[in-house]
Each structure stands twice: as C-alpha cells, then as structure tokens.
C-alpha cells in the first residue's frame, strides 16, 4: 500500500515533469524558487527537409544549418523578457514528397512549434504552407524558390533567398547574351521546383529571341536520360537547360558527353552543388548554374563554412547558410516582439532588418526577401567558380569582398 503510493507519486511527478517539458513556452513559474540561473523560456522550432530519399544530402545540409544556429543561439543565451531562450529543434523528414510534407507539417503544428524553417523543396513547401498559415505559425523556407509559395497571400509564408522568377531571368539572359545561344532545349523533372524554374527560363529565353527546340521531361528519381538526350541531340541546340536537382544533373552531364551532345549545359540552384561535380566527374567542366543567393566567400559572415565543417565534418552543400539565417530571423523577431508566441512575433517578422550570415535580410510585402542575389557559376577544374552576382543587398557590403574575390580564386589555383 505504502509502496504503491510512493510509485504513484513518482509517476505523477514524472507526468508533471513530462508535461511541462512538452508544453508550449511553459508559462513562467509564478514563484521562481531557483533564483540563481535566469528562468528558461523553452521554445520549439520545427525544421523540415527530405532526410531520406535521393536528395537526403541536401536535406541534411539544410537541417545542419538550422541546428548550428540553434546550438549557437542556445550557447550565446538570448534573453527575452528576462528569460533565457532555450530552443529545441524538431527535425522532420518530408521525403521530398508533397503528401508526406503536409503530414509532417500537421505534426509540427500539433507539437505546437513556435516557428518553422523549411521545407526544402518547393513541391513540399507550397502545400505545407497552407497548414502553417491556418495554424498561424510563421514559416521561413531557406530553399523553396518557386514564386507561388509567397504569392498565395499567407502572412506566415516567407523565404530568405531569391525566387525562380529572378533566377529564371538570370539564366535565360545569360544564355542569350553571354553564351550567344540561338536555340535552347529545356528539360525539367516535373516537380514544382524544376518545372517552375524551367518555365521561367523558357519565358526569359523566348523574350531574348531564342528558339526552344525541345521541351523534355524526366523524373526526380531517374538515372537514365539517354532517350531524351538523344532526341535533343537530333535538334542540335546551342544550350541545354535542366530544371532539377544535382542527383539527376550529374549523370545527365555524363550521358550528354557520352552521346556526343556538345551543347552548353546549364541548370539552377538545385544542381549547383559540389555533389554535382562529384557525380558528373570530368563532364562537369563548362557547366553553368545559378544559386539563389550569394557565394559563400561573399557572405557577410565568412567563418560560417569553417564553423559548419567543424561541427558536422562535412562541406556546406548549398542552402545551410540560409536555414541558419532563417532560424536567426525568427529568434530576432521574437526578441523585438518580446515574445515567442507566434501570434505576437509574427507582426514583427515583416519589419525584419537582420544582418545574417548571408547578408542583410529584409522582406517585401509578399514575404520574399528584398534584393535577393543570384549568383552565376561556371565549373572549371572541378570547382564552382563565380562568374557574376546579380542583385544582392547593400551594394557597399557586396563591393568590398568583390575586390578580394579574384585573389581568393587565384589562391585556390
């Protein structure tokens, strides 16, 4: 009897502990007994990206960026209303699948997260954004570039890098003016991202007087592109653009070379990664691609890639600096709002003017980042080399490193 009483007490205590552990921003204990350390304000930030499946390497990169931000902010100790912020990152896997994307979004809403960083793919970000919007939870995507995401009129949907309208325009104009292409073949992977970007490139190229000689399609889990490439070879285009991810672009570049298709190969941010070069091998030479953001060496915080490497023992793939900044932007808005309550700090988010790792982040009325930069790269000697940066915030900040950049390049060689 006595013993069972003890047990039930312990259980009750454990249950109480557990509840307070998962409760949303546990209300401050009215009488803080432990006075010595400042009381903690526990919040949860959800992160969603594909952690399994064929672009898991990019998903892990995004999550690592967010994790680094959370760890550094926790270590630094952000104070909100006299309470020390204790951020917990809840990393979810959406498998790059729109259906799974909405399921994990609902899961995060049910877990009462204070904010969401993600998702990675436009195809998952767009359907999930409705769920976050209905729940009033701010969502910042570090990598979903499809314009539709912020055009739906959701106050909660924002992104910290340029979108595909900007990116498509840069690629299209590059093909016309710099490559002098008269005919272009376009391939996409039938995802919201790939298709959206390919459409924007097509628009920009047509506007420049280019003839689209073939519009072909593949899938985001394919490895054999010889059939469509052979068809394209028959049309003799000057350039081929692929809207999709590195996992397809790599083998595609190789197969182009094997088939003797000599057109210039171009792609967007999804294929603009070190992984692409690894997969394409020597077929990667002379490949042009864009990233919706600044090159690492021109970012405001140049130690980011070192910190990242030290913590995760791997290279920055592409968007981890942006997921890092997305977390920081959320926390910054909380600081200014003096609250971690989504309903309160969401009013501060649009007023953001935050100097992050990637540069100064400000949002326009849709939730797109202002002055989003697009960087054009060319692969030479197995490296992504910056060709030009279009747009970008704070010209002064962008000018200064520009002078250093050639030196840095020279040092590399």
């Amino acid at each position: 009897m006595n013993r069972s009483h003890v047990v039930s007490c312990t259980l009750a205590a454990l249950a109480a502990f557990g509840l307070s552990g998962c409760g949303k921003e546990a209300p401050p204990p009215p009488a803080p007994q432990k006075a010595a350390p400042p009381p903690e304000l526990a919040i949860k930030i959800g992160h969603v990206a594909p952690l399994t499946g064929n672009i898991a390497h990019l998903g892990k990169d995004n999550e690592n960026g967010a994790r680094l931000a959370v760890e550094e902010l926790n270590a630094k100790g952000v104070m909100i209303e006299g309470k020390k912020l204790k951020i917990e990152l809840i990393g979810e896997d959406d498998q790059a699948d729109p259906k799974t994307g909405t399921v994990v979004a609902q899961k995060l809403v049910d877990a009462k997260v204070n904010g969401v960083v993600g998702h990675l793919n436009s195809g998952t970000t767009i359907p999930a954004s409705k769920i976050y919007a209905d729940a009033g939870i701010p969502q910042i995507s570090p990598s979903a570039t499809n314009p539709t995401y912020t055009q739906q009129g959701f106050k909660t949907a924002m992104r910290v890098m340029a979108n595909d309208i900007q990116q498509g325009k840069v690629v299209g104009e590059f093909a016309v003016h710099k490559l002098g292409a008269k005919t272009v073949a376009i391939i996409d992977d039938r995802t919201a991202y790939g298709q959206g970007l390919a459409d924007e490139v097509e628009k920009a190229a047509k506007a420049g007087g280019v003839k689209i000689v073939a519009r072909e399609f593949t899938k985001n889990d394919a490895t054999d592109f010889r059939a469509i490439l052979t068809k394209i070879k028959g049309r003799r285009p000057d350039a081929v653009f692929y809207g999709g991810m590195d996992a397809q672009a790599g083998p595609m570049a190789k197969q182009m070379k094997q088939l003797g298709l000599k057109a210039k190969f171009m792609s967007g941010d999804g294929a603009c990664t070190p992984e692409f070069i690894k997969l394409a091998g020597d077929a990667a030479e002379g490949f042009y691609c864009t990233q919706a953001g600044l090159p690492l060496e021109r970012m405001t915080d140049k130690t980011f890639s070192e910190r990242y490497k030290k913590r995760f023992n791997s290279e920055v793939q592409i968007y981890s600096p942006y997921s890092y900044d997305a977390v920081a932007v959320i926390v910054d808005a909380m600081k200014r709002a003096k609250s971690a309550d989504p309903a309160v700090y969401i009013t501060e988010l649009p007023k953001t003017s935050y100097l992050g790792v990637t540069g100064r982040i400000e949002f326009d009325d849709k939730g797109d980042v202002k002055n989003g930069a697009i960087t054009m790269y060319e692969t030479r000697e197995g490296k992504l080399n910056v060709l030009e940066v279009v747009g970008g915030a704070a010209p002064a900040a962008a000018e200064a490193p520009k002078a250093e950049a050639p030196k840095a390049d020279a040092a590399k060689k």
Partner: protein, 314 residues
C-alpha cells in the same frame, strides 16, 4: 529518313537495349525467386543496391592496398568480394523474414518483403551515408562509334553479362540436378519434400543464387551510370519487377524479353511520342506509354508474354 534521323533512331534502339539489359539483370533475380517460391521478393532491389555499394567499398579498400592494379581487375575482385556479402544477406533475409511465414497467408510475406526493403535501405543509409557515391570508371565509359551512334564498353559488358546470366540460369534450372529439385519445389513443395528433396535447402540456394545475381546487377548498374546510392535499388526494383511481370514472372527467358521490351518502349517512347502526337504528348508520357503496354499485355496474356502457368500460383 535522313542519315541523321537514322543515327538518332539507332541510338535510341541502343539506349533501349542497354536500359532493357539493366532491367533484365535485376528482373532475373525477381523471377527466379518467384518461380520457385511464388513470392515477390521486393527486397531484391535493395540487395542490388547493397551489392553495388559493397563493391564500391571493396574497390576503395583494394586500391588503397594495391594502388597500381588495373581498373577491370579491381572491379572483378571487388565484385567477387561483394557477391558473398549479398549471398549471406539473401540467405539471412530468407531465413529470418520469409521462412517463418512460408505457410502464412499470401499477404504476410509480401508485407515483410516491403519491410525488409525499407529496413535494408535505412541500414545502407546509416552505413554508406546519404550522399551519392560516384562509381569510378573501372571499365571505360568512354564512348565509341557504331554507325554514327555511340556506345560505351560498360554498356557492351552489360548486354553480354545479361545474356550470359540468362543462359547460365536456364542451364542450371533445366539441365542440372539442382535445377530439377528447384522445379520440383516450384511444382509442389510437400510432394517434392516427400520425394526426398530438401525443400529448405533448395529455397535457401535459390535465394543465395538470386542475391549473387543481384550483386552482379548492382555493379553493372553502378558502373553504367557511374553512381551508387542507398536509394538506387528502389526504382530499379520496381521497373525490373514490371519487366518480370511483362515477360511472364517465373520464366527466365521472359524476364530478359520483358526487360528488353520495357527498355525499348521507354527509350523509343521518350524519343518519339512528342513527334508522333504533334507535341500533344511529350517525354512526360514515357511511363504512361510503358505501363499502358504492360496493361495491354496482361489483359490479353494474363501470365505475361512468355509465362505458362496461369492462376495456379497467385
């Protein structure tokens, strides 16, 4: 038809044959297990993947020990190292996941097969990581010209290996004592058991042989696309399964015929649907076309192109 058009057509046919041989290599493993056990071993695609990745690991090890070894020999030796790994894996899968369910309702082993597939994928993700591994060109992937179309030595090897394995398996099943025992087991397990056939041993051997083939298939696929990844087996497995059904599952010749047919349909489909329909359909209809052919074949020949047994198994 101009010379260029002819070159493109020839190239598309070659593309289809190579793709089809890749499907056929994997489909042979599916069909063999199905032929003996009536079980669709959905984990087969994952064994293919493990074969490719263990070959890659073995090759890296081998090159660090003996740096000067020529590529094809490295590939051969590391494939020989990966085969026992896959054989052991195949044996374990059968022993742990399928044997206890041999007399359970048909759905149960199918579900465990899917479970094993997901399990292996995730184990491989932990062991080899999420990144793509570029598979070094141990056999040259430099193209050569065939009447204006291009082919690579790897592709020739793939077609030859697919045909050789099919011939080898046919010999094994139809001309050896082991093959007779396999066929007897396929016919009726209990009767074969009463006649002195060691059913468990035969089924284990079937799995072990199927897994050895999977290792070879994995190496071929990885070498052809110069890429290996923990996820590579999944889509490949589905396509190969389709090829096996198309050709008549359980029939070795059918697996190769189905694989080649599927490869050709996909390749020619992607290449010519757009022009044939005046741009109304494009290469996005590639799979629609391939699976439409599958449906038509199954409607008119439910046991597949070369399948004989109907409704007796499934």
């Amino acid at each position: 038809m101009s010379a260029v058009d002819f070159e493109i057509l020839l190239q598309q046919i070659l593309n289809g044959l190579v793709l089809g041989s890749v499907y056929a290599l994997v489909a042979l493993g599916y069909t063999m297990v199905y032929g003996v056990l009536g079980l669709i071993n959905f984990a087969h695609g994952e064994v293919v993947m493990i074969g490719a990745l263990s070959t890659l690991s073995a090759a890296r090890l081998l090159q660090s020990v003996l740096p000067g070894l020529p590529g094809p020999i490295v590939l051969l030796l590391s494939t020989l190292a990966a085969i026992p790994v896959c054989m052991a894996l195949g044996y374990t899968i059968e022993r742990v996941a399928y044997r206890p369910l041999r007399f359970a309702p048909r759905l149960a082993p199918l579900i465990t097969a899917i479970g094993v597939s997901i399990l292996l994928q995730n184990i491989a993700m932990v062991v080899w990581g999420r990144s793509y591994h570029s598979f070094p060109a141990y056999v040259s992937t430099e193209p050569f010209q065939v009447f204006g179309a291009t082919m690579t030595p790897v592709q020739v090897v793939i077609i030859v290996v697919a045909m050789a394995i099919m011939a080898g398996l046919m010999f094994l099943v139809h001309r050896t004592k082991l093959g007779r025992a396999m066929r007897a087991t396929a016919e009726n397990q209990s009767v074969a058991g009463l006649m002195g056939v060691n059913i468990n041993a035969i089924i284990s051997i079937t799995f072990v042989i199927g897994s050895a083939l999977a290792a070879v298939a994995g190496v071929m696929v990885a070498a052809n696309y110069s890429i290996a990844h923990y996820y590579m087996g999944f889509v490949l497995g589905l396509k190969a399964f389709t090829a096996a059904v198309l050709g008549g599952i359980g029939n070795l010749g059918g697996a190769v015929a189905g694989g080649l047919l599927l490869g050709l349909i996909e390749s020619l489909g992607a290449g010519y649907i757009g022009d044939l329909t005046g741009g109304f359909m494009g290469s996005n209809y590639q799979d629609v076309f391939a699976f439409f052919v599958l449906i038509m074949v199954l409607v008119f020949r439910p046991s597949g192109l070369m399948g004989e047994r109907v409704a007796e198994r499934a």
